[in-house]
């Protein structure tokens, strides 16, 4: 398969098509969708982490003027609706037995298992009436003991959340050759062990989730406008598995979506509840989460407690790696939740480093907390954190240089292609070159001077790096449909879902670049099950990799048909027709036809050879990725730490990414910077906290810290572009998640470097001033 050669504007910084409407206040987000005669819905959420519902009395609420409907678990039982299934790719215990998948209904039936779980839905003529009605529903709970921490949940005697899951274990997992790992450990000079926590965080898109449901009694069809990143797969689950109405009867649309980061990927309960309500009431129903509800009910991410062991020789050569992790699942299986701490974190173990053997094992227990599901990176950030933290920790313990330790152990370019000990197909790249490029970009020569300046202020300066290796994921197939309208516009529909990444621009850029048409002529459609017959939505950095490849493939097919039309007009063999910059041309003649001429000709049979039908340039094609791609890169970070207060300031950030072909560097930069911000957020401030009784402590933006403008360093971004992958026709490797895969270990490594003189070699994230200050005090007390 030949890789793509950039031309015709592809590979250039192209400003965005979607920006005009967003900048002028004319985007259409879910809360901007309003239907004639719509009713409003709000959710009564469980205040208990674990309790039996002994009674629900909604009579007073129903008596309130303007209240239309109250839905409870009893109604759900009576309707006979199905459960929301998990689509986790890992489904079996190590011993082969089936994972424990408890019934996940859209509303609590008889028992609640986390604070925030829907207990009732109120539908009324206005939101104010909904608010009043919520207060009038009386629910009696009989509290049960709760468990929120995964390490506690698996202990004997812990509260049992599901009868089917002894010790609350949903699933266990292993990958790699344990015997080989033990052999490598036995032969190594040192074994270094680090216990670490990958803190629980939330995606927190600034647009809260919401949906509008409509039911057409005449046709029996439902329409759901939904702030979702994954409309096709979720339609199937909602329509086929839960409501049992048949997916052909659910038209699923996502309007402009205000950020997602994985948090809007899965199937949620509320859209299902309002579809039910719309069907009952025969009128549209709208529901919008508020921010407090978002913290309670948006699936959370990360939350792994791990033990990482690195075996290495006296000269620093890595021999073996062993990771044991316990990954919290929350009270139910998320849409792909159980995959994250098992398959998701296992595949990239070892990063871009050479090992004789690696063994990974995981336990995934239930707890009385909100379910977990993918958050940007979904398992790979945990893997890179485990890898790049143990390197710095080992270096500190053994008196080695963490930079040299990496340099020594990176997989040489000559070893590629290879299969990693985890079975990952690493086809191309040059990790040592990326590493040196990162070192160069980060101005190592100037560091001593910067350190001096920091110390003159009474602060400590540290430098940390992370050499990450990750992989793409999500649906392997994508469709790109092109229709040339007779008004000159070109409709481009792709089954991916942009929630800010800029598909509207980059896909139009690809199509326009291939065909030589103005971008302004292209109308982009996405996230509408009527506009695209299939689609893999968002997730796993797949947009350009799979969707962009589909657009490229469709473009090439359009050109081939156009070539035949041109050949027919010039009465030559199609092989004799060249295509360049939007023109078909027969070399050595003055026969020229623009792509626009061919498009205009395509609807008249007189213009077409016998094997083509009118409309033949309107083409839909499906691209299928065979093997996932391997984005990789280097992050370097400098921090200033105030030892008196524990405050950390990220004072410099440099990153070099190998994303293969870069189609639009402006958009790629945006993905990297946004990912780094989320990684810095996780490393320094973000933390979802439940107390022991299962109450959410961090339930607002005043308790859960998100990075703000002055938390961010200047980020300098470079690319390694000499290794486009041959796994897809664009040569791209996926850019969406890499930033937050690399950033947390780079930041924590830098802080530990700054504090090494105190003997501080590890602090669990988030590195809040209190934690940093305490670590310094504890280390001082110990010495």
């Amino acid at each position: 398969m030949a890789t793509y050669v950039a031309r015709n504007g592809i590979g250039e910084r192209q400003r965005r098509m979607e920006d005009f409407r967003f900048l002028t206040g004319h985007g259409t987000y879910i809360d901007d969708v309003n239907l004639e005669n719509q009713a409003y819905a709000m959710v009564l959420r469980s205040p208990e982490a674990h309790a039996d519902i002994t009674s629900i009395d909604a009579s007073e609420a129903l008596a309130l003027d303007g209240v239309l409907l109250v839905v409870t678990g009893e109604d759900w039982k009576a309707a006979g609706y199905g459960t929301i299934p998990t689509k986790s790719g890992v489904r079996n215990f190590k011993n082969g037995s089936d994972m424990k998948e408890p019934p996940h209904h859209a509303i609590a039936i008889d028992r609640v298992r986390y604070v925030g779980q829907p207990v009732a839905l109120v539908v009324a003529e206005s939101l104010d009436i909904c608010r009043d009605a919520l207060e009038l529903i009386e629910v009696d709970y009989a509290s049960l003991p709760a468990v929120t921490h995964q390490s506690e949940a698996i202990k004997d005697g812990a509260p049992q959340i599901w009868d089917i899951a002894p010790n609350n274990i949903c699933l266990d997992f292993e990958l790699g050759d344990e015997e080989a790992q033990k052999k490598a450990f036995a032969a190594a000079d040192h074994i270094i062990t680090l216990e670490l926590v990958n803190n629980r965080v939330t995606a927190a898109p600034i647009e809260p989730r919401g949906a509008v449901a409509d039911y057409d009694a005449a046709t029996g069809k439902y329409t759901l406008w939904n702030a979702s990143q994954n409309i096709h797969a979720n339609r199937d689950i909602i329509a086929d598995n839960v409501l049992k109405i048949g997916k052909e009867n659910l038209h699923h649309i996502a309007p402009d979506v205000g950020g997602g980061f994985g948090g809007k990927n899965g199937v949620y309960q509320e859209p299902i509840l309002i579809l039910h309500a719309a069907g009952q009431l025969k009128r549209p129903v709208k529901w919008i989460n508020d921010r407090a509800e978002s913290f309670l009910s948006d699936t959370h991410g990360r939350d792994q407690v791990s033990s990482v062991q690195l075996a290495l020789d006296a000269d620093g050569t890595f021999r073996g790696l062993r990771t044991e992790t316990v990954g919290n699942l929350g009270a139910f299986c998320g849409t792909v939740g159980p995959f994250t701490p098992t398959g998701g974190s296992s595949r990239t173990q070892g990063g871009p480093f050479k090992f004789d053997a690696i063994y990974y094992t995981a336990i995934a227990p239930f707890t009385n907390t909100c379910p977990l599901d993918p958050y940007r990176g979904a398992g790979r950030p945990e893997g890179s954190y485990q890898m790049d933290r143990i390197i710095d920790f080992a270096a500190a313990k053994l008196g080695m240089d963490p930079i040299e330790l990496r340099r020594k152990n990176l997989i040489p370019a000559a070893d590629l292609p290879m299969k990693s000990p985890m079975g990952l197909d690493i086809d191309c790249g040059n990790f040592p070159a990326v590493f040196e490029q990162t070192m160069q970009l980060s101005d190592r020569e100037g560091y001593a001077k910067r350190k001096e300046a920091t110390e003159a202020k009474g602060l400590k300066r540290g430098f940390g790096v992370c050499m990450y290796l990750e992989c793409t994921g999500g649906g392997p197939k994508e469709e790109a449909k092109v229709v040339f309208r007779d008004d000159g516009k070109v409709e481009l529909s792709v089954g991916t879902a942009s929630t800010g990444m800029g598909h509207e621009t980059v896909f139009a850029q690809l199509l326009a670049g291939h065909l030589g048409l103005p971008m302004e002529d292209i109308e982009f459609h996405q996230s509408d099950t009527d506009a695209t017959s299939m689609g893999g939505g968002h997730g796993g950095s797949r947009g350009l990799e799979v969707g962009g490849s589909a657009v490229t493939q469709t473009s090439r097919q359009i050109i081939e048909v156009g070539r035949k039309i041109a050949a027919h007009r010039f009465d030559v063999d199609a092989a004799k027709v060249d295509f360049e910059e939007g023109r078909f041309h027969v070399p050595g003649t003055n026969h020229t036809m623009t792509i626009r001429d061919a498009i205009d000709a395509q609807n008249d049979p007189d213009n077409l050879p016998d094997d083509l039908e009118p409309g033949c340039m309107n083409i839909t094609s499906v691209f299928e990725r065979g093997i996932i791609s391997i984005p990789n890169g280097g992050h370097a970070c400098e921090v200033e730490v105030d030892p008196d207060t524990g405050t950390v300031k990220v004072d410099g950030y440099w990153v070099v990414d190998d994303f293969g072909t870069i189609v639009n560097p402006m958009l790629a930069d945006g993905q990297v910077m946004g990912g780094i911000a989320q990684g810095i957020g996780q490393a320094l401030m973000e933390n979802i906290v439940y107390d022991e009784s299962g109450q959410l402590v961090t339930g607002s933006l005043m308790d859960y810290a998100l990075p703000r403008a002055d938390d961010m360093p200047k980020m300098v971004i470079g690319y390694y572009e000499d290794a486009p992958t041959e796994k897809n026709i664009l040569g791209v490797k996926g850019a969406g998640e890499a930033g937050c895969v690399g950033a947390p270990p780079a930041v924590v490594n830098a802080v530990c470097d700054a504090l090494k003189e105190y003997g501080v070699h590890h602090i669990d994230m988030p590195l809040t001033p209190e934690r940093v200050w305490r670590a310094i005090q504890d280390a001082k007390a110990e010495s």
Binding site: R21, T24, E207, G258, T499, G500, G675, A677, S700, M715
Partner: protein, 158 residues
């Protein structure tokens, strides 16, 4: 229900409002100006920033009746007097610098930025960062927003 009269983006309107109606709700639901967004319930995110008598406010933290008699500016008004397709220099700078991704925080960011520059035309990078403290963006990592505000400020200075 009391009635309030406000001037919104230069046009005077009189509407009845419930005592508990927030200014953000009034703007979105009653005036149908949906460019003003609501991203939180604790006045933290800044997606709802509008101008009230020339000062930026979080419209989710003001009751509609408190705005009676006031001059209100929303994102829709920023370029409404320009020829179709043209943007206010600050909007144009956000586009040029890729200072937005999902676009949800953008109206609040732009309204904050414009007023920040009006108040301090020579604002520097630290001032911009400080001025954006009340606006959260989850997509961009802020760097491009800061560059956009610098460029927008320069263009506004003329």
């Amino acid at each position: 229900m009391p009635a309030i009269t406000v001037r919104v983006n230069g046009l005077e309107v009189t509407k009845e409002v419930d005592a508990r109606t927030l200014l953000s709700t009034f703007i979105r639901e009653q005036l149908k100006l949906t460019g003003t967004h609501v991203g939180c319930d604790t006045s933290q995110c800044g997606a709802c920033v509008v101008t009230l008598n020339g000062k930026t406010v979080k419209s989710c933290a003001v009751f509609a009746w408190e705005a009676d008699g006031a001059d209100i500016g929303t994102i829709e008004g920023l370029s409404k007097d320009l020829p179709e397709g043209e943007l206010h220099p600050m909007q144009a700078a956000f586009r040029e610098h890729h200072g937005l991704q999902c676009g949800f925080c953008t109206p609040g960011m732009v309204m904050t930025a414009v007023q920040m520059v009006k108040n301090n035309p020579d604002i520097d990078e630290d001032g911009i960062k400080h001025g954006l403290e009340g606006n959260i963006c989850r997509c961009t990592g802020y760097q491009n927003i800061i560059e956009a505000v610098k460029t927008g400020a320069k263009a506004m200075r003329g």
